[in-house]
Structures are given as C-alpha cells and as structure tokens.
Symmetry: C2
Subunit: 353 residues, 2 copies
C-alpha cells in the first residue's frame, strides 16, 4: 500500500503558510509516511526551506488552479479540473496516494470526491464523519451536514461507515453504534428513525439502540448515527454553547482585580482544561462511502490542527477504512441474499406442496 | 383577571416537599399573587406551617389521585380524572386560576392539557417552549420534544406562539424570530424548512431568516423555531456538553494539591460563572397553543427552580400570552382572507371581461 498522503496545499483560510509546515510536522511524527504537496509551486516553495530534514519524503505537484472558498460545487466541478483539490483526489484515484486532505470549500470537495473517486457499491450518498470528545473518550458522529432528508437505508449505511471508521482509527473492532433519537425507548422518534432501528438491529453491527443528545458526550456510544440536518444542528449548537461558556468564563475572570489575580493562580489548571478539549486535536472529518479516502480539515485550521488531520487521514488509510467498509457491505449483501434465497425456497416448496 | 396559579403539588421527583415551599417563596416575591395547592391534603399539610405569613393567599384543593411519572398519557387521561394534575388544569379551564404549573410526567401533562383546555383555533398541535440563556440575554426555542415530523404550517404556528411568549415575558413586542437551519442561506435545509421560510416571511412577524445551531447561544434571535426532534436534540446535546465541561473542570481543579488551592482562590469567580448559567433560573417551559396556560417544570426541580417556574407562569398569564396568540392568529386569518378575497375578485373580473 502507498504510504503517501496527497495534500491540497491551497485550501483553507491560510493556504501553504499552514499546510506546508503542518506537512513537515506530520512527517516528523510519522517516519514511514510521505506526502505530495499539491498546489501552485511559486506559493509553496517559500515554505520548503523549513522542511530540509524531510527531504526525499515529500514531492511538490504543481496545480495551476485553486478552488475558491465560496465557489459553487457545480462551478468547481466544471471549471477547476486543474485545481489543487482535484489533482490531490486524482492522485488517490491513480493509487499514487493512499488518501487526500483538503481544508478547502466543503461542498466542492464533496462533489469532486464523489466525481473522481466514485461511490462504493451499496452506498447511496457519501457522509461527513468528524470525531468529537466525550467524557471518557471520543465519538464518531455522522452525517454532519451533507445529507438532509435521509431514508432509513441511508442511516444504516452511515452506521456501517461510521463503525468501520471507528474500527480503523481506534482499533475498536466492535464499536457501539447508536441512533440519535429523542428518547431511549424504541417507540419514540420519527418514522425514519423507527425504521432505521430495525435495519441496524439486523445489520450484525454492535447496535446499542437509541441515544439522546446528552448521550453523545456521555460516551454512551462510539458511533452516533443521524441525518445531516440533525447532526449539523447538534454540532453547531455544541460549538455555540462552548463558545458562550468560554467567553463568559473569561469575562468573569477579568471582572475585577481580585478575579484577574485568581485567573493568574488558576491559569495552569484552566490551560489543562482547555487543552483537553482543544478542537485542533479533533480536526479531520472523513468523507465516507467513496472508493478512496478523502478527508476534510476545518478551513480555519492552524498548522497544529492541520497536522492532526493529516495524522488522522494517514491512520485511516493505513488501517484500510475503505476496504473495511467495502467488505462489510459485501457481507451484508450476502446475508441479505441468503435471507431472500431462503424465503424464495420456502415459497417454492409451498407452491409445490 | 384571576391572579391565581394552580399548582400540581404532587408532580416531580419530590412532590409537596419542593412544590409547597416554592409556592410560599413565590408568594413572598409577588404580593398580588395567589396560589391553589392541588394534591393530597395529608401530604401537603406538613409543609404549610412554614407559610404562615402567606395565610389567605393560598388554598389547598384536595385531589385523591396522582399521575405516576412513568404512566402512559392514555392511561393518565382515562384513569386519573381526580389527579392533582387534572384538577389543576380544571381550575384554569373554569377561570378560577390564570395558569397552572406541574413538574409531573410531560406526556401526561401534554395530553391532559390538550384535553381539558382545548386547542386554540388555527393551531394544529401544542408545542413546548422553554427559555434558554444566550451570550447577551435569552432565547425562546420551540418545539422541544412534542412534535416530530412537522409541516411548514406547524413551524409557522410555532413562530407565532414563540413570538407572543417572548412579547409577554420580556415585554419585547417585536421579537426576532428565526428558523433553525443548517446554513444561513435560504437555499439550504430540508424541504419543510424551505417552505416554512416562505410562510414566516409572509406572516408579519419580525422574521430574521435562518440561524444555525451556534446562533442560538450567540443571541442572533429571540425566538428559534424548529421541529420537536431537532429541538430536543439541540437541547439535550447542550445539556450533555455542559455536563461534560463542568465535570472536567471539576476534575482538573481537584487533580493535585496545587489545583485544589487554585480552586479555592478561584471559587468566588467560578461560583459567579456557575450562577450566571444556573439552569434553575430557566426552569418553566410553556405548553403553547391551548386556550389556557399550562406550564411544565423540570421533574428534578428544587424549590428555587420551581419558584422560578411559578414566577414565569404568573408573568405569562399576567401578560396574557394566550390572548396574544389568539389575537395574532385572528389577524393572520383576516390577512389570509383578504388575500384570498382579492384573488377571487381578480379572478371574477377576468371571467367577466
């Protein structure tokens, strides 16, 4: 297997100023890894001097074009065939890279990934799956924004993809998969969720039933499945709440001379608290359901965050997330065929009798 | 107007031990108010001595039965006609009380409220609307759990009811109403949300468009409208995250001798921070869309929290939230009829021409 990650160096708010130093930091931590730095050579080169120790482990692949952060997916697909985003995906398709990472335009990345890498048979729509902290570990949640109005079958597919990602990244071969719902009882929730429950129960996954919103952070499951609308609301609401609390904590600690002194004393503790939930270490969401690995970094990522996403992409590829999803889908198809075959046999016997 | 709140004293995890002292605390803060303490006399009486100063402003109304916390709404409706929950609602219906409050079984309260008080004409389903803190104020969010699979018309009705509640409780006559969505652009979101956007735009409410999950806590709107599934997930996810952060902050502050000392120094600041988001002050969710006021307290509420909910119920009733909703619905109906009338006239003219 290739040990190379193709990096769209031009994506994100800071481009090569972040992506290239992050690539070197990643290489220093992963001695068997290589990277391809895809983008405008003239803009990448100024940052290469800092990676002299990584010589021979990176390659610059020139790409003329750049997908703009506000470009429509359709326009990017049609007009940006020579963009860094597109070329990085081509390298995955051609087997020169085992995965790609971009901090660029999410909609365009989704459309291009789908077009270049193609869907796995048995998957209707790709999903975006980030990783999030819990009280005692982490959780994979999908879908986060790409799919609204999902069917029960889509939710089943998300469950399979999320479980295989957890297996690949956390070496957790039997991750607990749960459906996000508004009550733990099976009778609750909307129709789609009720039907998805039946499908997940029959899937052979380690399906643990429903979790409510608070269960996400309580570590009640390793994989939480929901449609893209609900997932996006849950994630963004969490970001908003965390921001409000952090802002207010800062306000309280700067209210008076006494509170500023208290902040000074408490600083090491507060910093440790902050580090524990530092979103940079959770950077790197997987686009799942494709025949190759495409990963998305937050657009505003700094070099630390981008390096975390690179490590995650590399881990997912090394632990063969795509092959795992593909194998699990094949297993389910066989199981389904066996069930249908048995039903047909029974029917035939009845007719003969 | 009656200044009396009917209290289901038996509901919630603690019953009269919480509800009766809370009632007295409420009466002391609202000198023109009265309460009816509904429930089993023998269980209420031991707590009455502490309210000697409130004599003449409360009345005990005996109710034989109690709705169990795990009782099904159907069973409660059928078998608990003499329960404290039911009698409290009857007092509202009969005009002896201006509103009722219960910390009991939510499903049963919803079903009974609907059965006893009846729906307002023009409202299809009642909604649950709590109040939540934002970075610079508060926000009313609905629906929170009762209605999954909503239509665009339901979301419009939620917008109207939430706006009238904000007007009644915050004296904000033109509250900003927003739709919870996964992007601020109008083209985003599922079909229901897209159609609801059109209805809200034409409603005469101060509709400010879409907010994303993070906008809830950023104070981007005074009223946030969503279906019960999404709302429940957003609220519970927030509770889970807040719990995880509080738990971890405590952990960090108790990790070593130094951090415990730092906690001691920082305690006044941390307590002020905690007080700012103390969920007890946000207790009291309104069941809206009914011909009378029914309010729900958190089941685990203590006396402080229950007194907050009582004050909220009293404010909502005093500021005529039900009448406001009713008037706004009538206004919309007239506007709709005028539009339809004009269209019919135009059609008739065309046919005559």
């Amino acid at each position: 297997m290739s040990h190379t990650i193709a990096i769209d160096c031009m994506g994100g708010d800071y481009g090569p100023a972040v992506t290239v130093p992050a690539a070197f930091a990643f290489l220093r931590g992963h001695l068997e890894a290589k990277v391809m730095l895809v983008g405008q050579k003239a803009k990448i080169e100024p940052f290469l001097a800092a990676g002299a120790d990584c010589a021979g482990r990176y390659e610059v692949v020139h790409a003329d074009d750049v997908v703009a952060m506000d470009e429509s997916p359709t326009s990017a697909l049609k007009n940006k065939k020579k963009s860094s985003m597109r070329l990085a995906l081509n390298l995955v398709k051609d087997g020169q890279a085992c995965g790609s990472l971009s901090a660029g335009n999410t909609g365009a990345l989704m459309a291009m990934s789908r077009f270049v890498l193609k869907m796995l048979p048995g998957i209707d729509r790709p999903a975006i799956c980030p990783v999030m902290p819990t009280i005692n570990g982490r959780v994979y949640m999908l879908d986060l924004g790409a799919n609204v109005d999902c069917t029960p079958e889509h939710l089943l597919q998300f469950g399979i993809m999320g479980a295989m990602l957890a297996a690949a990244l956390d070496h957790n071969e039997y991750p607990r998969v749960a459906l996000l719902n508004i009550g733990e009882e099976e009778i609750k929730g909307n129709e789609v969720v009720k039907e998805a429950t039946l499908l997940l129960k029959a899937s052979g996954l380690n399906f643990v039933g429903n979790v409510e919103g608070d269960g996400i952070y309580q570590g009640e499951a390793d994989v939480v499945v929901c449609d893209g609308f609900v997932g996006n609301v849950a994630l963004k609401t969490s970001e908003g709440l965390a921001h409000m609390l952090a802002h207010s904590l800062k306000q309280e600690f700067s209210r008076s001379l006494f509170s500023r002194l208290a902040a000074l004393v408490a600083l090491p503790v507060l910093n440790r608290f902050k580090a524990r939930f530092d979103p940079r270490q959770y950077n790197g969401a997987s686009l799942l359901g494709l025949k190759g690995l495409s990963m998305k970094s937050h657009g505003g990522a700094d070099a630390v965050a981008f390096a975390h996403a690179l490590a995650r992409a590399y881990d997912a590829a090394s632990n063969q997330v795509v092959e795992r999803i593909s194998a699990k889908l094949a297993e389910l198809r066989e199981r389904q065929q066996a069930i249908e075959g048995a039903a047909a046999d029974e029917q035939a016997e009845k007719e003969n009798a």
